[in-house]
């Protein structure tokens, strides 16, 4: 009698359920490969070593800042209104770039100038982190610091382009190691380091748990505030580093560039979801997405597509990514 009254089990057998996300991840990869193939056939120049170097150089800025944002989303959860988001990342990058350029122009050695930039960025990160741990919504807290950082940048630069010269920045721009630009190595190095911390250590698993379900994390004896505070500080520090790279690439600190790159950073971080088996933002996925977005910019330009369409293509891309992630999420519910 009782045997017939066992409730119907909702979840499929574990083996069956695990193929689904994998398949969906493959669709992401396949789409990206298709786009890249299209560019490769459309323009013979696309796959040349020098063009690939350009793409990687472009990707490094978004990649490094994107990894920072990814950390925030990991530890804050991907619910945008209530969860982790750092809107200040672009403005912080711009501010750090300006500080670095000003310091370099004042005669500070390049390395130290970069350090100044990153330090200022980290300070903003601390403000973000403290505001969030005090209980302010990340969206609002980082919106406010975004305004602060963007206007500090203008206050420092007086809205003028500040050129940087000197061997250090030229070296940072031009150096190539084993045929790959130095900055791309830097992105890879940072990506690997953060992947190790967030993918391989207990700190990483704990951060994911905090972002997924703070109550579960607390029940397990973790303090969510620690992981969140750290995520905002790290995010800003990485954004600062990205800002100084941007200065090196452009040979100048360009005022107002911070708000322009914000959208790309957000795009890159959210796009990483399609590379992730967890269906969450991931570090390696962010680096891949950064390379892909840079390649998309580059490829569309090579194909002769007007720059206006590139923005539209990116907007569409975000929507596609979100729609696919939403659909995948819904299936599993």
């Amino acid at each position: 009698m009782s045997a017939t009254l066992v409730p119907v089990d909702e979840a499929p057998a574990p083996g069956a359920s695990r193929t689904k996300p994998r398949l969906a991840a493959w669709i992401g990869y396949a789409g990206i490969t298709a786009v890249l193939l299209l560019f490769a056939f459309g323009s013979p120049f696309f796959l040349t070593a020098s063009n690939i170097a350009t793409i990687l150089t472009q990707a490094s800025v978004f990649g490094i800042a994107g990894v920072g944002l990814a950390i925030v989303i990991i530890a804050g959860g991907d619910d945008v209104l209530n969860g982790g988001i750092d809107l200040s990342t672009g403005a912080v990058a711009g501010l750090a770039g300006t500080v670095t350029a000003l310091a370099a122009a004042a005669g500070t050695p390049g390395m130290v100038a970069v350090l100044y930039g990153v330090l200022v960025a980290t300070a903003i990160g601390v403000v973000n982190g403290l505001s969030v741990t005090l209980g302010l919504r990340p969206l609002l807290a980082t919106l406010a610091t975004m305004g602060v950082a963007a206007s500090l940048e203008l206050v420092f630069s007086q809205n003028l382009k500040i050129a940087v010269t000197g061997g250090f920045f030229e070296a940072a721009r031009g150096s190539v190691l084993f045929g790959i630009p130095l900055v791309a190595w830097l992105m890879a190095l940072i990506g690997a380091a953060v992947w190790w911390v967030y993918g391989k250590t207990s700190w990483g698993v704990n951060s994911y748990a905090v972002g997924q379900n703070p109550t579960a994390a607390q029940v397990a004896g973790l303090d969510p505030r620690r992981y969140r505070l750290a995520s905002y500080v790290l995010s800003s520090a990485l954004a600062g580093l990205a800002g100084t790279l941007l200065v090196a690439r452009l040979s100048a600190a360009v005022p107002g560039i911070g708000t322009q790159i914000l959208l790309d950073i957000i795009l890159v971080a959210y796009m990483s979801m399609i590379f992730s088996r967890r269906r969450l933002v991931s570090v390696v996925g962010t680096v891949l997405a950064a390379v892909f977005v840079a390649a998309l910019d580059n490829g569309l330009t090579l194909l002769g597509v007007a720059s206006q369409w590139v923005g539209a293509a990116k907007g569409l891309l975000i929507l596609l990514v979100l729609a696919s992630v939403t659909l995948r999420g819904r299936k599993n519910r």
């Binding site: 969206l139 807290a141 602060v148 109550t215 975000i318 979100l322």
Partner: protein, 367 residues
Amino acid sequence: MSTIETLAAPVEPSPGPVAAYSGKKRGTLQASRLVAPGTLALILIVFSVLSPVIFTVGNLFGILGQVALLALAAIGLTLVVRAGGIDLSIGVALDLGALASAWLIHDGYRAWVAVAGGLLCALAVGAVNALLIVILRIPAFLATLSVWFAGTSVQQLLTGGGAPIYLSAPLVPDGFAVIGRGYFLGIDAAIVNAVSISLVVALLLGITRYGRKLTMAGEQPSAARISGLRTNALIASAYLLCAVIAGFAGVVLAARSNGYVPGSGQAYLMDAIGAVFIGATISRYGRVSVGGTLIGVVIFGLLDNGLNLIGLSFFWQDLARGLVLLSILLAAVVLGRAKSRPATGIFALLRTTKHQALTNTAKGNRK
């Protein structure tokens, strides 16, 4: 309950025993609610000491004229936030409104055609938002962010790479020019427009069934659904209305500046969000309101004007604005926390509650 529903309802109150506390001390005024008006008063006092000009009638109207467009954008956003969402694409709606109306005037159409064209273009932006959010269930923040992206390039495409449209003053029909530059009883038309739209929206939210339903759908969507309200239609309508109001701001902008400059609308976004959430701090329940939003807008306007009068550059004004926004929000959250435990306070809107996460899990796991 999916994450999407949570997004639509950032203010879902925490169930369970915590709410039982709310029985006490409801009558006393929360200190957090005084933060925004207090800041406003403080700014007024400081600047009136620093600069005697600020209290002249001419200057005060000048300030209002400057913030009229921001007020319009923020009022539109107020509707969306009331409905439990957020709209980052108001700049796009504003720009498209300005673009279409300037274009139509440029091509010699009549004033009313230009206005209608501007509003229709803006409405299209709202319709895309509503589609993405209500039907495709993409989180509002990300959906409107993509519309912002796409809208920016649409503008560039329409203007051949971002060329501004300039209207030579003699060719602009009076009926159009008056929207942005006219005077009504000696008051700047932009102020008249902003005040009348504010009044309409305030009445809409305050005394109509629509306003009541919208608020309910935004704050507690599942309770609203169970009470028989068509929450999807309500939330969609908020995005449409917001876009139309932002589009109207664009029309006013075009008439005021005699032309259209691509991307000028985004400048209003951050301030509008700031103003709306500053406004939320004056409500006991962290509920956004037209009045509160206007207080936020005026704080920004006074701050800009005052700093201007004491001779600080434009860049410092921005900085001050950011710092004031951050301090008001932080003060409200900290005071709100010290004062009361329940998550129904101002708190609920500004702050992420852990109880919310708790309920979500419980529900999510029970399936």
